[in-house]
Symmetry: C2
Subunit: 331 residues, 2 copies
DNA sequence: CCTGACTACGTTACCGGTAAACCTGGCAGA
DNA sequence: TCTGCCAGGTTTACCGGTAACGTAGTCAGG
């Protein structure tokens, strides 16, 4: 990388400050100067140095950090997409990381990223290490917590309540006449948001006087196989269930596959419900009963909240992005 | 962000160079000095400034850029995951972007990222704008092109041949006795890699004397619905097919759903084959015939090739990561 | 006792931008 | 004619690190 502002300045016969102003589209130069500088910059193949710019100005870089639980989650892929579209349009660059549902890994990541002095951060979830929160508050950095809503965010929050998702599904299944519900989940210890859905589900059932009969929590990635084996295990312990709520749609589809292989009729013998709203779920022979999460909208809203804060525009600290329970033909 | 090296230096009664050496774990200081400096840094809540470090050293930052076609693709989620795990373990940070299968968008992204002077880049595909290639060659930056193999990479390449994938599937279906094949794809104009698979498929069929009968290329995201409608459209034009090859597994599953809804028996009336190896495909009542792509392995290999280059270790320029055709029960 | 090597630091000069203060010539108005 | 102002610049002083080099003190060996 050879050419810098000074090289251009010399070649164009102006000072490097003038070059800086021209290339950043400021004012205080004639049209001829502007054209000459631009031409020289072009011919020298000048590539701006954001490192120096962000460092020198000692403020607002155009880096934004985003930390998600897992990069392999289809849902978070859409959230990332929403964030990326909104930010790249405005000239920001996105640094990502995965915390594997661990607040310790999240803290390590945050420390790395903060040392790049980013314009802002987007974190997933409302649970963080105390040190993470201290660091971010002290740095007075714009932070958006997404996915799981909190009324007392570090800075801003965009999302919905996982507890309410679980409760709503519980109420729905009760209205459909289900009385003996089970639950199949995964990553039990680490995934606080899945846990919150289970808590909400359990609470809704208990309140109606038909408490959760059994649950199976696997220490595994929440995918198709986990759903399949999870339902198999659950049914081997307790045959007497009339509906099973799954951690997410992938697991629910795994559960459907297991039911089909055992000749269990869905929804006659057993109801099945998922969570997340993956596209595959809506195209099954029987549409999956699930909760659709507006993933891209959350990403977009988070990015916009962050940018509004950066520009000093007023914006609300907490943005609720509603989920939608979609009654299918499986529960 | 208040404390910097100088603050620590003053508080510890040493020069800031000594603080720099201590905090970076170098040599040239006594144990007492080390302990004192560390203690002071801790107590002041010092957060290193990588911006200044990368700028001052005027060389290799710990940023790595990665550009994928779409962030919503399940396959690329796994590639990202492989890259992220390998890089974050070594202290690198990942900047991502999506090019939407457009080399123009890719070039815009590359220009943005190069101005951060990253340690290296990972790009998807072998097709780039001439300006992109010039820029990268001139910057002498380590670059790994992944996904579609090329024998003449900008710098390094990790992947497999999409043409060969298509050809192999063509040969497989011919061996299974299929003679009248169709193809359903998406994003026809922009997705050169999907196009390469089609080319390979077409070539294999033609060579065997049973050329492709019909194809349907949708200008849409390659998802379940596109597969469903694509097959419907294809069959409305040409009923006389005995197998259909799809752009990817998601579309193939959409195709399966359409076949089921129309009472078309798979594989008796119609064979169906996909590509990619998504987990869902292997759990269908009838396992999908598809090509499994080692996504995570490609990400890992790309990251490792990049790091090897950065450390000056010898490594091969082209790494072939083989795909695996998995004969299922649908084709 | 002098020399040379080694340890444990300190000093200085940058890296490539940006902000802010500072020039300067020409022209309008008093 | 003098003054003030404005367009169109230039100059200077950083930002927070790092590399390269300088230097005082110590110690062993000849």
């Amino acid at each position: 990388m050879k050419a810098n502002l000074e090289d251009i300045a010399k070649a164009a016969g102006v000072s490097k400050m003038t070059v800086s102003r021209v290339l950043r589209g400021g004012t205080g130069f004639s049209d001829e100067t502007r054209d000459r500088v631009r031409k020289v910059a072009e011919s020298l193949g000048y590539v701006p140095n954001k490192l120096a710019a962000a460092f020198g100005a000692d403020q607002a870089s155009t880096l934004v950090g985003m930390c998600v639980p897992r990069l392999t989650s289809g849902l978070f892929g859409h959230v990332l997409d929403g964030v990326d579209r909104a930010l790249s349009r405005l000239g920001y660059q996105l640094i990502i990381g995965a915390n594997n549902h661990s607040t310790e890994e999240e803290e390590a990541w945050v420390r790395q990223i903060v040392s790049w002095r980013p314009a802002g951060l987007i974190l997933s979830g409302r649970t963080h290490q105390p040190g993470t929160v201290d660091l971010l508050r002290q740095a007075a950095m714009p932070v958006v917590e997404i996915w799981d809503l909190t009324t007392s965010p570090i800075d801003m929050s965009v999302g919905f309540s996982h507890f309410d998702c679980g409760a709503e599904m519980g109420q729905h299944l009760l209205r459909r006449g289900r009385r003996r519900a089970g639950y199949v989940g995964a990553l039990a210890r680490a995934d606080v948001m899945g846990q919150a859905r289970l808590d909400g589900f359990r609470a809704a059932l208990a309140e109606a006087g038909h408490p959760l009969v059994a649950s199976e929590l696997l220490l595994d990635m929440p995918g198709f196989y986990a759903g399949l084996y999870g339902l198999e295990t659950l049914l081997s312990r307790t045959r007497d269930l009339d509906v099973v709520y799954f951690h997410n749609d992938e697991m629910a589809i795994g559960g459907l596959a297991h039911a089909q292989s055992r000749g269990i009729r869905v929804p006659e013998d057993l109801g099945i419900a998922g969570w997340g709203g993956m596209e595959a779920a809506s195209i099954l022979p029987r549409r999956l009963t699930t909760t659709v999460v507006p993933t891209t909208a959350i990403g977009k809203a988070a990015a916009e909240a962050l940018v509004a804060r950066l520009k000093g525009e007023p914006g609300q600290d907490v943005t609720v992005v509603p989920t939608r329970l979609v009654p299918g033909e499986t529960g």
